[in-house]
Symmetry: C2
Subunit: 174 residues, 2 copies
């Protein structure tokens, strides 16, 4: 029986929508622990995935405030996006969602990719304030910030993946 | 008679292959001087052109050591590339060109865009040494260096454009 924590390319693609990232994570699998997997994931994302791969990963996210994921995003990724935005959606009013939609469109127009933020636990107000602040950045600066936010999201999602497997393993062990 | 130094979108596209850059330069034309044009060009390139625009501009360059430009590059851009690489081509031997071609291919494989360097006056040896050094960079670091090299190339090409117009103007004035 395989006690290592390993998943296939499709699972890793749900954590981060870069095919290069998913392939390299699957090749490095299985991992002795979640922490080990995160450390490998950080290395792959920041040192080997190229800028086209970053853009590919960004394009797998829905706009903040929208629950509809891009058609090429996986079902797991779409469900996770919805969960990550649950605080934002619960604190949203009609007018704040409208304002968020307008700023998101402006952001996409300026930077050429979706506004990315690790939304877990954040209110709509706090997300909007961050969007307005980041909107003033130069494109290359914002590109790097978005990549750091993507890594935070990836870590949260890897944690969900690993928790589910650990649960399965301990249930099987009993 | 128009004494200002202005050119159309096509001219600016030969200096830098980002359509956004060319459009914004054409809108800001004519310029009172070459220095003024360079200052506007730097602002547009580093502050308003997004990362997709940077990739578009990079893709208009031939690989260093190759005189064949990408099919979508303009004729002027292709001619200028050839001129900028004249020192490199004059100092090249069969084996150094072969080594350059191999490193270029490896660079493209790692970073997803062509190795960009302001080649004017540089020998093949010096270009190859720089390529090997830059190859070790993280993708995002290399992306920003490439953008700085693109700006140097753009400045040289704007200077050619403006010199040709100034010559025409003074000839007409005589």
């Amino acid at each position: 029986m395989d006690l290592g924590l390993g998943f296939d390319e499709k699972d890793y693609l749900s954590c981060c929508g870069s095919t290069q990232f998913a392939k390299e994570m699957a090749s490095a699998s299985p991992f002795p622990s979640y922490n080990h997997a995160v450390s490998v994931a950080r290395h792959i994302w920041f040192n080997t995935v190229d800028v086209n791969g970053w853009l590919q990963a960004f394009s797998a996210h829905p706009s903040i405030g929208q629950t509809r994921a891009p058609s090429h995003a996986s079902q797991t990724s779409a469900q996770w996006s919805k969960g990550e935005q649950s605080t934002a959606l619960a604190t949203a009013t009609g007018s704040s969602l409208q304002e968020l939609a307008e700023w998101n469109a402006g952001y996409m127009q300026k930077f050429g990719f979706v506004f990315l933020i690790c939304a877990s636990g954040r209110s709509t107000e706090s997300i909007l304030a961050e969007l307005k602040k980041r909107y003033t950045n130069r494109p290359i600066v914002e590109f790097e910030i978005a990549a750091q936010e993507q890594m935070k999201i990836t870590e949260l999602r890897l944690s969900k993946l690993f928790t589910s497997k650990e649960n399965t393993l301990s249930t099987t062990d009993m």
